[in-house]
């Protein structure tokens, strides 16, 4: 069943990560039992065997089904599937059960398990190359990133000169773009689902890129529906429809552009799903990495994250809050300080370019009298006219403040952000 969804939210909320995860639903890894045996012989980790069986099946599986497959493979080694699934579970254990890396299995519903390919590839980027070199991979998706120069000719079709070495002539025939190519493939395989992933969808000129096809992407206007719509493409003159087994997924940074400003023609053809900063995701992802986010070198990262975002929401709006992805790699207080210095403060400087003192408010750098604390992260110094100018004349010059990042962000500086909240 086709879907048209745009995920929108501030930077760092996992939009691109979500698209990557969705892409795995459109990848088929085909390999036979011998390849599983060969891979397991090469690396006899039980988690690998279980994940290969689930990948081969291409669906959620019950532990008994996996166990039955292991019995059929006759590997001569006893493997307890429930133990493997539980030990490498992505979910935290409320009973304190010890977890081991890679944590790649999740229980979709009681008794039904899935392998998270995104986490598997994160754990070992060369996994398929190393253990399944002969597996065939079918990718049933196209991925593009929209930008100002991305055009109709890139997306639908356009004239792109190609040189034919045999005839020594230049061929000016229309060439299919990304969407036309995947539509042709999807049309030939109606039994499978295909997708187009569009990152940063709001960066492109939607009207120009989609052209007349904007009408065709509606789900009830697809090929084979009662309200099927077709257009004649301008270059090839072909009659074109969009097949019903093609989904569109987009991501949009809501801090770049207000969602109200997005092309209205696109708005009503897509479902918009917000992705907000989520401290629960931060907590669970760090837990998977073996880190206690509530006590990272004495810093309560969750409280720090929530406090910064609450202040941004008060001073600006929710579209400009900070995503949890910025902090996912933090393993020490110096990592947190580094994220604040290199990611958060520059972002805040962009948001509050006309009133940098608000950054000090967000980081709680000022005391109740408005004076700078000794542990301030975003500091200021006064620039007095009389200090810098001997002669002012008729110029009306005011004293101002120069803002700069502290070169010594301590644990106390970080704790002060959420102190008293």
């Amino acid at each position: 069943m086709a879907r048209n969804i745009i995920f929108y939210g501030p930077p760092g909320t996992g939009k691109t990560f979500l698209l990557q995860r969705l892409m795995n639903d459109y990848v088929d890894y085909s390999f036979d039992d011998q390849q599983i045996k060969d891979a397991f012989t090469r690396r006899s980790d039980h988690w690998m065997l279980v994940s290969l069986i689930m990948m081969q099946a291409k669906r959620k599986m019950k532990p008994s089904e996996i166990q039955e497959k292991i019995r059929q493979l006759a590997l001569g080694i006893a493997v307890n599937v429930s133990t493997v699934l539980e030990t490498h579970n992505t979910a935290a254990s409320t009973l304190g059960v010890h977890r081991l890396a890679p944590r790649i299995f999740f229980e979709y519903s009681p008794g039904e398990w899935y392998v998270d390919l995104t986490r598997l590839i994160q754990y070992d980027v060369k996994f398929f190359e190393k253990y399944l070199p002969r597996c065939s991979v079918e990718r049933r998706y196209a991925f593009v990133t929209f930008h100002q120069s991305f055009s109709y000719e890139d997306f639908i079709e356009g004239i792109r000169p190609t040189y034919d070495a045999e005839t020594k002539a230049i061929d000016y025939s229309p060439k299919p773009g990304v969407l036309k190519t995947i539509c042709d493939i999807a049309r030939r395989h109606p039994e499978k689902e295909y997708a187009v992933f569009i990152d940063e969808i709001n960066r492109g000129n939607i009207s120009e890129i989609f052209g007349e096809l904007i009408s065709l992407i509606e789900l009830d206007k697809r090929e084979g529906t009662t309200s099927e719509l077709s257009v004649i493409l301008p270059y090839s003159k072909e009659t074109f429809t969009i097949p019903s087994n093609l989904s569109f997924y987009g991501s949009m940074n809501s801090a770049d552009k207000s969602i109200a400003a997005i092309d209205l023609a696109l708005r009503r053809r897509f479902k918009f799903t917000p992705l907000a900063p989520d401290s629960a995701v931060l907590l669970s992802e760090l837990e998977i990495a073996g880190v206690d986010a509530r006590n990272l070198d004495g810093i309560d990262l969750i409280k720090l994250f929530d406090t910064i975002n609450a202040r941004i929401e008060i001073l600006l709006d929710s579209n400009h809050t900070i995503g949890h992805a910025f902090f996912l790699k933090c393993r020490s207080y110096s990592d947190i300080a580094n994220v604040i210095a290199t990611n958060i403060v520059p972002l805040l400087e962009e948001y509050f370019f006309d009133d940098l003192q608000k950054i000090q408010l967000i980081l709680n750098d000022l005391n109740s009298d408005g004076d700078q604390k000794s542990t301030a992260i975003y500091k200021h110094k006064e620039l007095r006219v009389e200090t810098y100018f001997d002669y002012v004349g008729e110029y009306l010059l005011d004293d101002c403040r120069q803002y700069y990042l502290s070169n010594n962000i301590t644990q106390e500086s970080l704790k002060q952000i959420y102190e008293g909240v």
Binding site: P63, S64, Q67, N80, V81, P110
Partner: protein
């Protein structure tokens, strides 16, 4: 006809305030084992399932675990394999054997013996399906099918009971359900050593397997194999309407 359940407070978090079939199944298992652990300051009652080494295949244990987890997960409990439990604070000391255990938080129940009068009363007032589920739970986790190796017949369905109080309680429940059973209290061994555990034995196993049944794929298969030798024919009834994976068997 829908079953009506009796309101009952077990002192264990089952997610229900009634004596449902699923709660009865786990109570049967918990009482038949009397095992608990403390983890992070909380008391957990365990419903263990154990098999002797090499007795059940990994597939049979997985199938059993799946059926049990279908019940335990919605009740807020966690069912974990013995390999995961062994050697951790969750281990009652008895998870060296293959199997698994379901962990239920105590909601005030500190001693099973204290809960016997209330549970007995609630069971005897409950429908037959609830009593059946309790009896399944009693034997499904640690019961054994005692086979006469000469003629393949079933001598008894046996349970080693944890204490005399609990053993007598389970004996009363079995007798009330109409089964012919005997109960041997804990006795010293003639040869010395650890005393024998109190043991509950169901004599009329045919009756038990026809009216109550078992979920354990391995234990059920042992009964079925016996019937293949000792009965002219038999019929297996899937009773997933009572409990997931429950089967009864009727032989002629």
């Amino acid at each position: 006809m829908p079953i009506s359940y009796l309101p009952y407070s077990s002192g264990i978090e089952f997610g229900t305030q009634y004596l449902t079939k699923e709660a009865a199944y786990f109570l049967g298992n918990i009482f038949s084992s009397n095992e608990s652990i403390r983890n992070n300051g909380r008391l957990y009652w365990i419903a263990p399932v154990r098999y002797n080494y090499g007795y059940a295949s990994e597939l049979q244990i997985e199938q059993h675990l799946e059926f049990v987890k279908t019940m335990s997960a919605p009740m807020g409990a966690q069912t974990l394999s013995a390999d995961v439990i062994r050697g951790t604070p969750l281990d009652s000391g008895k998870f060296r054997l293959p199997g698994f255990g379901s962990f239920f938080k105590s909601d005030g129940l500190e001693s099973l013996v204290a809960a016997i009068p209330g549970l007995k009363s609630a069971l005897f007032l409950s429908s037959w399906e609830v009593q059946q589920a309790f009896l399944v739970g009693v034997f499904d986790g640690r019961g054994s099918i005692d086979i006469n190796k000469k003629n393949h017949s079933i001598r008894y369905i046996v349970l080693d009971c944890p204490t005399n109080d609990i053993g007598k309680f389970l004996f009363d429940v079995c007798t009330n359900a109409g089964f012919n059973c005997n109960y041997n209290e804990a006795r010293d061994r003639l040869e010395g050593g650890k005393p024998r555990k109190p043991q509950l034995r169901i004599r009329n196993s045919d009756d038990f397997m026809m009216k109550v049944g078992l979920i354990s794929p391995k234990r059920f298969s042992v009964v079925q194999e016996s019937y293949m030798f000792t009965k002219s024919r038999y019929r297996i009834n899937e009773r997933s309407d009572i409990l997931p994976g429950l089967k009864t068997i009727v032989g002629e």
